[in-house]
């Protein structure tokens, strides 16, 4: 291993590769900040460029874009409540309220430090645990994945405040229903398309996220002209606040970061899970472990609530490289694009990658440290400038949010049907928001929908249609037991509060 680390370090510390990490981080941050243009688009755009490089350099550049885009995505989540990256949806829960309170600079600083710590810690875990972790992820079967999806969706209960559990569950079902539109992944049978060709490929994730977050947020701000919170919104637009983190906030982060980085890393290692589930689970777990007083602050600008998903999504980014590099199974959509690039370089991912191409495996791990340092150096001093976006008056900010949303969708499909669909979903979402129907459960369900169906299909086919697969394996049973405990705990809490 020491030899591998040295090879990786030598490769990563060449001038060309350091430059690639810097370019990747910078480019990724800018792209990630633009709602609708996430790391997948950024990395996909990089593929033709990287063909001129050697595999290690190409992957280092793409990895830099990935971290940068995730950080950039959290910036737009915090400032605009427009997460262009699925992994930063949870960041907006507390990041955006904090920005609305005039602490945009502080929120961005917390996000930067948490991302840095999460990424660095997970790179250390990766260094020591990569070989054994690939074995753990190999032991996961379809029933375990299905149970994990159920757990992820049940965790949305953590996002819904008092009396909103059923509303949240309705949004979960709606999200899964939206995800079921289009071609069935196995049989290619089209479902719920009503003979409309535009729906054959299903509804894009970016479209749903843009509609339910960015566009509906913009419409809600206009709609609630006399809403008491509009005053706070106006204040936040003019007051950027300091980027300094005080001692009390640092203490909170010291506790949150280690546990969230572990969750993020472990979830990231699981093939198919990735930063989104990691950030949602970390947010849910953090909300459950903090004191009642701190719990009340969740969703209103909690330091723990912001630090947890930010740490976890960066940790998951590093974790998602493990299955991709060792098993050839991407841990997320973004690493799937990177996997395509890896194959394009003629590198066959698999358990033997350590031995056949140690410079690729280890140089990526080593470049993660460098990438995290560069991201911090690049982003912290730039925070006051990035945060200036909030100083844009509402009359300009709203059309610009709409502009980025529509452009993001248009650039993806060059199809005006998608624009109409986005407007339609945004109008419904705005109306639902008025009556406190939470949107995050819908998004999570939409992301997990396809994966959930695939794993349920495999599980049921393997067990000949019997539901016994739910308790046949200890791991599946344990995950489901945790899910049931969460539901019981919520019901118990609801009843005790009523009494």
């Amino acid at each position: 291993m020491i030899e591998g680390i040295l090879i990786g370090l030598t490769t990563a510390l060449t001038f060309q590769n350091i430059l690639m990490v810097m370019v990747g981080c910078f480019f990724g941050t800018i792209i990630g900040m633009l709602p609708g243009l996430g790391p997948m688009t950024a990395i996909a755009l990089m593929i033709p460029i990287t063909y001129g490089f050697d595999p290690a350099t190409g992957l280092i550049l793409m990895a830099g874009v990935y971290y940068g885009a995730v950080f950039g995505g959290s910036t737009s989540s915090i400032l605009l409540n427009a997460p262009g990256v699925p992994g930063t949806v949870a960041t907006s829960f507390d990041g955006y309220p904090m920005a609305q309170q005039g602490k945009a600079g502080k929120a961005l600083a917390i996000a930067a430090w948490s991302s840095f710590a999460g990424g660095t810690l997970s790179a250390i875990y990766l260094l020591f645990m990569a070989p054994s972790l690939s074995k753990v992820s190999l032991s996961f079967r379809s029933p375990d994945y299905f149970a994990l999806m159920i757990l992820g969706l049940t965790a949305i209960a953590a996002f819904s405040s008092k009396g909103q559990f059923l509303k949240a569950m309705m949004m979960v079902v709606l999200g899964l229903m939206l995800a079921s539109v289009g071609q069935d992944s196995l049989s290619d049978i089209t479902r719920f398309t009503f003979n409309n060709m535009n729906l054959t490929d299903g509804i894009s994730f970016v479209l749903v996220v843009m509609a339910t977050f960015a566009m509906s947020e913009a419409l809600t701000i206009i709609l609630k002209r006399n809403d008491p919170t509009s005053a706070a919104k106006q204040v936040s637009l003019t007051e950027l606040g300091s980027i300094k983190i005080n001692k009390e906030e640092r203490t909170k982060m010291y506790k949150t970061i280690p546990r969230s980085s572990v969750i993020g890393f472990l979830i990231g290692v699981l093939p198919g899970a990735g930063a989104t589930i990691a950030s949602f689970l970390a947010y849910g777990m953090e909300r459950n472990v903090v004191s009642d007083e701190e719990k009340e602050k969740f969703g209103k600008g909690s330091v723990n609530g912001l630090s947890a998903p930010e740490t976890a999504n960066n940790a998951a980014c590093s974790g998602s490289f493990v299955p991709m590099l060792t098993l050839g199974i991407p841990g997320s959509g973004t690493t799937a694009v990177m996997l395509g690039a890896l194959l394009g370089f003629g590198v066959q991912p698999g358990p033997r990658l350590y031995m056949t191409n140690p410079e690729i495996f280890w140089s990526i791990i080593m470049s993660m440290y460098i990438g995290m340092v560069i991201l911090l150096i690049l982003n912290l001093p730039l925070i006051p400038y990035i945060a200036r976006i909030l100083a844009v008056p509402k009359n300009y900010l709203i059309p610009l949010i709409l502009f980025f949303s529509v452009t993001g969708i248009y650039v993806m499909s060059f199809n005006n049907f998608d624009i109409y669909l986005m407007i339609g979903i945004a109008v419904v979402a705005t109306f639902l928001r008025l009556y406190d129907f939470p949107m995050p459960p819908l998004i999570l369900a939409f992301v997990l929908g396809g994966l959930m169906e695939e794993n349920l299909r495999r599980s049921l086919l393997l067990s000949n249609g019997s539901w016994e697969f739910l308790w046949d394996r200890t791991l599946t049973a344990c995950i489901l037991a945790i899910t049931i405990l969460i539901v019981i705990w919520h019901i118990y809490k609801t009843f005790t509060k009523k009494n």
Partner: protein, 156 residues
């Protein structure tokens, strides 16, 4: 049972789930797949029932935290205009092209939201879109169809 908007939304969701379930049962699957433990309609059917279950529960259970929205204070007019502008934008973007429609969309949105600083409005629409378009089309190599710019010879 008190009738409030949340209950009406739940009722609408219940009807929607029933329609979804009906449509799920209508999904045509291959003959050999008809009696398989899992086919293309299995998951949607479960979802339809789940939708009926949760919205049904929301309908029949008491709602202690009723959300009251004061409709008099909501800005329907501006919101409606903004949605209308977005629809027109969607309808014209392919025919007219990205640059002109996006610039006009931004300009009209600023205007209807009450902005009257004409120079700033102009700068944040036409030149802004041109710069953004250069970033996408010129630097990032993302193709943007623009018949208008092609007709005046700016784009090849």
């Amino acid at each position: 049972m008190n009738i409030n908007t949340t209950k009406i939304i739940s009722l609408l969701f219940f009807i929607f789930s029933a329609f979804y379930l009906y449509t799920a049962y209508q999904i045509q699957v291959f003959t050999f797949d008809e009696n398989a433990p899992f086919n293309a309609r299995t998951f949607p059917i479960y979802l339809g029932y789940a939708g009926l279950f949760f919205s049904g529960l929301k309908l029949i259970l008491p709602d202690p935290n009723t959300i009251k929205v004061d409709h008099k204070n909501l800005e329907y007019k501006k919101t409606g205009i903004l949605i209308l502008i977005a629809i027109i934008y969607g309808a014209t973007i392919l025919k007219v092209g990205y640059f002109l429609t996006t610039s006009l969309f931004l300009f009209a949105s600023y205007y209807f939201l009450g902005e009257r600083r004409w120079i700033l409005m102009f700068l944040l629409s036409f030149p802004f879109v041109a710069a953004f378009m250069y970033l996408l089309h010129g630097i990032l190599d993302i193709y943007l169809r623009d018949p208008f710019l092609q007709s005046i010879g700016v784009m090849g």
